[in-house]
Structures are given as structure tokens and as C-alpha cells.
Symmetry: C2
Subunit: 424 residues, 2 copies
């Protein structure tokens, strides 16, 4: 347990003296935990992930088990208020990822006559590997009419182009897009929810929740130290994911490099979110052989068809006894494979979801897909074009939400804030 | 790790030999784990909870961290098919709570030409404390027109009366009621979701999902070995809950006793579910003193106002310096206290939820309340009547769903099934 995680607990003990309380967390010192957010070592399940660093945490951080993702509309026209919010969010995120209250007077400190500046539901819980990752949507730079809302249009990266329409998408506009996004990942959902809720609370009057998604059962490992988890089709998902240990590949495929676009994004990455309803009832009625043909992998081991190990390379040329390709031409593995997409790769960080039922007697379940990349025009877009046109799996999928966000580089220290180089 | 939890893992290893696979889990022996479902010892986070016993597991079982709750409509008119489903569900639940596949040909065993009889997303995961608890709704015994659907009307317990309307409730009928309910609790949401999904799959053509709810962050401990968790108002919730160690109180308040009603319910308990949206944005703007006045407890320690320890009894008679009651007359603690309700007590087992956003810029968050009891007419109904009329907290609450279910006693062994005494 880190020092910082003790703080939230200590605040409670201090608060035990009565309603009048004490100033609690206010006295506990600097909120920023120093360290490398490069995250080259897995964190303990309950521990803290460093907040500051060259890159934002929550991208290559070994994928935590739970997600709360939210997209906000900015409802102010005041650039200074937006900047103020980003400063406040940065300070609160630094505290919360260290296991502290969102603000200095905490949930139980301060004066009884004032609302606490933390909502309290994470009191007593450890940091739980919480990461908070922020991104800026295309509409922050100019609205649908082309209006430059905050004087940012000239700094809009070309890679933050609106995404094209993909065949088969039935997007719900109220669940898509957004001016800002926040991805909170943690090993305890209460900690992830607490983080998002407090950022929403801090943003009152400046931002409004546009949509929000909870997820569980990370479906992509982002480190070679993690086992590959399963999606709701029952298959291992993300076997061929980019991993934090592959630093050369990360430079090539994940992190925005100098000269890629406006300087403020160097060290950042582009996030594509995509909520994909899975028609699991139909899937469950298909045979094992059909499922494996569609995916192109064995259900049990996750090995590509014709191979025996999960991490063996699929053989796109191999043919079966019948002379047909062992990996069907429209199998998911073939269509998503880098060799089919000019070498393009993604760092995926998706989560399973179940959002109750659909009113038609079925569970409303699926995958909340998140992918990070250096340039979506060269990565997500061509891969998804190929998948949405040909993937046999599409029969069982219904994509309902799409989002694109530019995640700036990491925060360097107490005087820095998310997006500083964009605004200053 | 128990033997049974190894089975799911072993099935995978076996399946590694290729698509044709092996019969896998079929050979791994009896599915029923013997043991006392009285659950008098806390289970390890990843371990298995005994399925058979005098009472159903998942009631006094130390509350696991995650919930998937589902209500089904029975869509067949055939009594035998309904009985067949309950038999199939019992067998599948016995397997899954032991960490196995839902059926004998598993996710990756059997013949490639057939759909697997497990959906696979829990492959490789341990039992994770999974419990599956089944209940029968009033509409199973007679429909809205009074029709006896399955020849059960004469066996309907008087305690399974339709619940009255409570002031302030804005119930969504499509999220309320149900002929059957299944509560799956586990320490891994993927395991809880897997259980519900497979029961829904097995029930295809017999039942249809009416509504479904995920929850996290158990808000009521059910054992003295557990710490009290916090609800989304940031307060400890369920401090005064019935606990599994209080066997005399459980007999008095929780388990249906001989002579209480029809024999088939002896050893069972009545479940009330209630989805309560919390208007957290408004709550978060109220002062700490106001919040503590409304709840009647300190936010930090959970102690009743005027006391210093969480588990101290609230003093309903105490007055403050101003001569007013220390615990406000309309405070939650006072209104819910047994002495205010003729001694009535509940075993609560609620969970927090966040279901995305509400379309008005706010999180759709709250408490999915679950309470078990011997007779709702004497327990939930009078307590809720008092709360719904007077509780200061109502200003921040919007109850949208209500359900009542008779949970039969536990399954005794391989030849028994849920509700056997009701049908035979």
C-alpha cells in the first residue's frame, strides 16, 4: 500500500472526531505522485499508478478490470472557464489516482455548512490502479457549422478528422461524439465511477454529461504480463494487441511523433471509441465450428486455426484438406491482420458491457471498443472499412456509438495541466 | 483453489488439442458441490460457495462485490416445460457456481457441428464466489386477470401479495415485476454475467428477459466479517443490516418458518427489489451538515449522530443543545429503525449502479435495493410506507422499479431442483 492510499483512510479516521470534523486531507501535502507514467511495470491491483509522465496513464497501463467512460459537451462559451476546468480536473485527477479525495476539503473535512468537495463513495478504498485519461473531440475545435468555438481551429490536428460512415453502423447520435472524453479505468468499479462522478461534479456549469458507459472484463491485455481476456462471444480478444513492452512498435503505431501534426499532440494518441451491441442470442445458437470459422481462432486456446498456440502467427496462406483457405477469406482474424491492412496496428483497450435488457426479451450486451493509435486515418479507418464491408462477424454485431478524441501527452508536474500546450 | 474451479481450466487445456476437441467437462464427475449453504464462514474471493443446503446461497452468503439480477417472463403455457426449465437451471447453476461450464459439452467440447452448451466468456476464470438465487413472482401463480397459469394458485403464499403503491414511486412497468427472478452475485462481474446469460440461453422459448440490472460495490454487508460499503451518497449503507452470524434474528426475520404459509416456502425467504435512481448532482450540492442530518449518521465514520462508533445504537431520544432531537424526526436512520417499525428488520443486499447517462446531462446512477425477509407484509411494506411518506432523503430519490419474489428453500442434492415442493 502506498502512502497516498493511506491518505483517504486517514481522512476517515480524522473525521471520526465528529460532525465539525477537521480539515482532513487538506494538510496531507502535494497531490501529485511523481513517477514515470510510462508504466513499464505492472501495478498491484490495489496500488496507485503514477499520474505524471511523458504520456497519459491509462493507455499502455496494464489494462485494469473495470471502465467508466464518459463524453461531455462543453456548455460554456468562455475559453477561460474551459481552461480553468482542465486545471481543476488535472488537480483532482492527480489526487484521486493517488487514492485521495477529489478536493482539499474532502468528503468529510471542511465546514459543515458547505458541500464537501468529494462525494465520498470511495472513502476507505485504495487507489485500485485508477487511471484517468482525457481526450478532445473534433467538435471542441469547431462546431457542426464550422464555427471556431474557443479559438482552437488552427490547432486542430488533421488526424482528428471526422470519421467516415461505416457500412452497418446504426449510430445513436446521443451516444456518439462529444467535445471532451474521460476514460477512468480501475480494478474496482466504485473507484472508477467515483472519479467520473467527481469530474462531472467539478465541471458543473462548464460541461454536461453527453453519454457514459460502464465496462467490465477488459477484453484486451496491454502487457505481456497479462493473460488475454474473453469477450461476450466467449473468445479471447486482443491476442495480437500492441503491448507496452513493445516500445519500438508503440513509437511507430501508438504515440504521435514530432512532425505528425501540431506540436501540442506530440506524445499523445488518438482514441476511437465504438459501442458494439453483440447479438449474443443468435451467436449462441451457431455451432462451435461456425464460431471458430468466423473468428479464425480456436475458442478454447485462442490459437489461430491450424496452429496450436494463442500467440502463433496466423498463416493466411494455409489451405485445408478441401483446398480452401484454412482461415476463411472473411474471417475476423484475416481481415483485421496487419498484413491485410498495410501494416496498421492498434492498441486496443475495450471492455465488455451489459446494459440491462433490450425490451425484446434479450440482454443488451456487447463490447465497448476503445483503440489508441498514432493516426486514425491510417489505422482505425482502413481496418474498420475492411471489417465493416466483409467481416462474417457483422451478422452478430450492431455498432451504435462512435467517438474520436485527441488525447494530449501526459502532465509533467504540479504546474502543468491537460492540454496546456493546446491553450497556451 | 477447489477441485471444481480447476475443472473450467482443465477443460481449456484439454480443448487445446484442436477444433474437434474432446468431450471435456463431461467426464469431470458430479456437478453438485456438497456442503452447507448456511455459509457460516466467509468464502475466499475466488473460491466456490456451496450450492446445496437448507437455504439458497446468495442470501446470507457474505455479500459479493458484483451483481447481475434478471427478471424473466414465462412465455410458455406448458407446466411441464416450466418444470423442465427449473430442473435444467438447477443443474446448470450447480455446475457454474462450482466454476464449471453451464453444460456437459462446455464451451469448447462436444461436436463442432453443434452449438456449445456454454457461452465461454468465463473460461479460465475461477468460481469467484458465484451464487445464483431464484425467486417466483406473484404473476407466476395467477396473471393480472386472476387466471391460474400453471395450477399453482392454491399454493400462492399470502405473503406474496402484490405490493401496494408507495408515495413518490414512479415505476416503469417494463422494469418491474416478473414471473421469475435470478440474482447472480460474484466477485467478478464477468462470472455473474456469464451465469445469467447462460440461464437465459437455456431458457430460450420458455422464458424471456423482462429486465436486467448490473450492480457493483455491495452496499450492505451480510456478515460481521465484512466492512460496511458506501452508497452513491457517499455514506456507509447497511450498518444495521441483519448478519449471517445472528442466527436467532435470521430465524425471526429472514427465513420462512413452518406454519408461516404453504410448506413449500419453509426455509425460503421473500425478496423485494427496488431500483432507486439517486439525484446525485443535487445531493452533491447540499452541505455536509445537511447530508448528515438527512441520513442521521456521520459521513466519515458512519456513526449515528451524537455517537462515535459506526455500530453504536442510535439514540432516538437524545436532544441537541437547541432542545431539538439530535436525530431529526424525518432522518433516514430514525424512520428505518426497528423501534420505529414494530421491531421489523430486513436483510439487505443492495448494489450501486450507474446505467450511463439520463439524456439531461447527468449520470443515471443510484441504488439497486434488494431485501430479504420472512414476510414483506410485516417488514418491507410498513418500513417503506414510513420512509416513502416522511424520509427527508426522498427529495434526492426516484424509485423506478419494484419487484417481489418468493425464493424457495435450498436444493438438497442432485435429485432436487428449485421449487420442487411447489410443483410436485
Amino acid at each position: 500500500m502506498s502512502d497516498s492510499s493511506l491518505s483517504r483512510r486517514r481522512a476517515i479516521a480524522l473525521a471520526g472526531v465528529g460532525v465539525a470534523g477537521v480539515t482532513g486531507a487538506a494538510a496531507i501535502g502535494s497531490a501529485l505522485v511523481k513517477g514515470s507514467a510510462g508504466d513499464t511495470t505492472p501495478h498491484p491491483v490495489e496500488g496507485a499508478v503514477a499520474f505524471t509522465g511523458e504520456h497519459q496513464a491509462g493507455i499502455v497501463t496494464p489494462a485494469q478490470d473495470r471502465l467508466h467512460f464518459v463524453a461531455f459537451d462543453v456548455i460554456t462559451k468562455d475559453r477561460e472557464r474551459l481552461i480553468g476546468l482542465l486545471k481543476d480536473w488535472t488537480a483532482a485527477a492527480a489526487r484521486m489516482t493517488a487514492g485521495r479525495d477529489a478536493g482539499e476539503i474532502g468528503a468529510v473535512g471542511g465546514v459543515p455548512e458547505a458541500p464537501p468537495d468529494d462525494t465520498g463513495e470511495a472513502l476507505g478504498l485504495p487507489p485500485s490502479g485508477l487511471t484517468i485519461t482525457v481526450g478532445f473531440g473534433p467538435t471542441l475545435f469547431r462546431d457542426a457549422t464550422g464555427k471556431d468555438r474557443f479559438g482552437l481551429a488552427a490547432k486542430r490536428p488533421p488526424a482528428l478528422d471526422d470519421l467516415p460512415h461505416f457500412p452497418g453502423d446504426v449510430l445513436d447520435d446521443s451516444l456518439s461524439g462529444g467535445d471532451l472524453c474521460v476514460q477512468a479505468c480501475a480494478n474496482d468499479p466504485q473507484v472508477a465511477v467515483h472519479a467520473i462522478r467527481n469530474l462531472a461534479r467539478i465541471g458543473m456549469g462548464v460541461v454536461s454529461v453527453r453519454w457514459s458507459q460502464l465496462g467490465f472484463g477488459r477484453t484486451s491485455s496491454t502487457s505481456t504480463t497479462q493473460t488475454t481476456a474473453r469477450n461476450l462471444f466467449g473468445f479471447k480478444d486482443g491476442t495480437a494487441n500492441l503491448k507496452l513492452e513493445e516500445t519500438d512498435l508503440l513509437r511507430e503505431h501508438l504515440w504521435v511523433q514530432p512532425g505528425d501534426g501540431p506540436d501540442w499532440m506530440t506524445g499523445g494518441s488518438y482514441l476511437v471509441s465504438r459501442k458494439i451491441r453483440m447479438i449474443v442470442e443468435t451467436w449462441d445458437r451457431s455451432s462451435l465450428a461456425e464460431q471458430e470459422m468466423i473468428v479464425g481462432r480456436q475458442k478454447g486456446t485462442g490459437a489461430p486455426l491450424g496452429k496450436s498456440g494463442e500467440f502463433e502467427e496466423p498463416d493466411l496462406e494455409a489451405k485445408g484438406a478441401d483446398g480452401e483457405p484454412l482461415l476463411a477469406l472473411r474471417s475476423h482474424v484475416r481481415l483485421a491482420h496487419p498484413t491485410t491492412n498495410g501494416g496498421a496496428r492498434l492498441l486496443r483497450r475495450g471492455y465488455n458491457f451489459v446494459d440491462g435488457s433490450d425490451g425484446l426479451g434479450r440482454l443488451d450486451a456487447g463490447l465497448f471498443f476503445i483503440a489508441f493509435q498514432r493516426d486514425p486515418r491510417k489505422q482505425f479507418v482502413p481496418i474498420q472499412r475492411s471489417l465493416s464491408r466483409q467481416d462474417e462477424m457483422n451478422e452478430y454485431l450492431k455498432p451504435v456509438s462512435l467517438g474520436l478524441f485527441a488525447c494530449p501527452p501526459g502532465v509533467s508536474g504540479p504546474d502543468d495541466f491537460w492540454g496546456r500546450a493546446l491553450f497556451i
